[in-house]
C-alpha cells in the first residue's frame, strides 16, 4: 500500500512536471491551444497529488473548477481571438537566458533552503481533508472570509460583464 502510493506520487509528479514544461516551452507547437491542453493535464495530475495527500474535496474542486471552468474559459477566449500571426514570432534568446538565470536562481534558493531546513522531518501525514471537516471549518471559523469571497465572485461577475461590453470606454 505504501509502495503503491509512492509509485503513484512519482508518476503524478513526473507527469505534472512534464506537462508543465509542455505548457511553458513546447518544442513542437507554439499554439496557445496546446499550452492550454497541457495545462489541463497538469491540473489533473495535481488533483491526483491532492488525492494522495488525502485532500479529496480539493482534488474534486481542482478538477471541477480548473480543468472544467477555467480552462474552458481559456479555450473560449483563444477561439474568440484570431491568433494565427502570433505563432510565427520567435522567443528572443536574450530574454530566454535572462529568464532561465533568474528562475534558476530562485529554484536553487528554494531547494537549498529545503535541504538546509528539512521541514518534513518527523512530520506525520495524518490529516484527512474530508468534505465534512472542511465544510465545518468553512462555516464556522472562516465564515466571514467565505462570505467575502462570495461577494468577490459577484463583483468579478459584474466586472466581466462590464468589460465585455462592445464599446468599452
Amino acid at each position: 500500500m505504501e509502495n503503491a502510493q509512492a509509485y503513484l506520487f512519482y508518476v503524478f509528479a513526473a507527469l505534472a512536471v512534464i506537462c508543465a514544461i509542455m505548457v511553458v516551452a513546447n518544442p513542437f507547437s507554439r499554439s496557445p491551444v496546446t499550452s492550454a491542453m497541457f495545462l489541463v493535464l497538469t491540473m489533473g495530475c495535481l488533483a491526483g497529488l491532492f488525492t494522495l495527500l488525502h485532500a479529496f474535496f480539493l482534488a474534486a474542486v481542482q478538477i471541477l473548477v480548473y480543468a472544467g471552468a477555467v480552462m474552458v474559459l481559456f479555450l473560449f477566449v483563444i477561439m474568440l481571438l484570431d491568433l494565427k500571426e502570433e505563432q510565427r514570432r520567435q522567443v528572443k534568446s536574450l530574454s530566454l537566458v535572462a529568464g532561465l538565470v533568474s528562475v534558476g536562481a530562485i529554484l536553487a534558493i528554494f531547494v537549498r533552503s529545503l535541504i538546509a531546513t528539512k521541514p518534513g522531518e518527523g512530520a506525520l501525514a495524518n490529516v484527512e481533508g474530508s468534505t465534512s471537516k472542511l465544510g465545518k471549518l468553512l462555516f464556522t471559523q472562516y465564515l466571514l472570509p467565505f462570505e467575502i469571497v462570495s461577494v468577490l465572485l459577484l463583483v468579478a461577475m459584474v466586472g466581466v460583464v462590464l468589460l465585455s461590453k462592445k464599446d468599452l470606454k
Binding site: 508543465a20 496557445p32 495527500l53 485532500a55 502570433e86 532561465l100 531547494v111 490529516v127 472562516y142
Partner: protein, 101 residues
C-alpha cells in the same frame, strides 16, 4: 521509498519555477496567463502538503479560497484580454508598451 513533505515541496518548487519561466519568457499574453495559473497551482500543492504533514486543515481552507479567487481572477483577466484585443488587435506583450509613454 517513503514519500515525505520534501518531495511534494520539490515538485511544487519546480512547477512554480516553470510557471515563472513562462511568465518571463513567453510573449503571448494568454500563455503568460496560463503560466500564472501554473504558479498558483504550485502554491496550492505546497499548501496542501503542509496542511497534510502539519496536522492542520487551515492550509486546505486557504487553498479553497485561492481556487475561488483564481477563478474570479481568470474571468476578469480574460475579459480584459478580450477588451484589449478588440482595441489593439494583438495579444503580444511587445506590442503592449503603453507604459513607456
Amino acid at each position: 521509498m517513503n514519500v515525505g513533505l520534501e518531495h511534494y515541496l520539490v515538485v511544487s518548487a519546480v512547477l512554480f519555477a516553470l510557471g515563472l519561466l513562462g511568465v518571463v519568457t513567453r510573449r503571448n499574453i494568454l500563455v503568460i496567463y496560463m503560466s500564472l495559473e501554473l504558479m498558483l497551482n504550485a502554491a496550492n500543492l505546497a499548501l496542501v502538503a503542509f496542511s497534510r504533514f502539519n496536522n492542520n486543515l487551515d492550509g486546505q481552507v486557504m487553498v479553497f479560497f485561492i481556487i475561488t479567487v483564481a477563478a474570479a481572477e481568470v474571468a476578469v483577466g480574460l475579459a480584459l484580454i478580450v477588451a484589449l484585443y478588440r482595441r489593439r488587435q494583438t495579444t503580444h506583450v511587445e506590442d503592449l508598451n503603453l507604459l513607456k509613454h
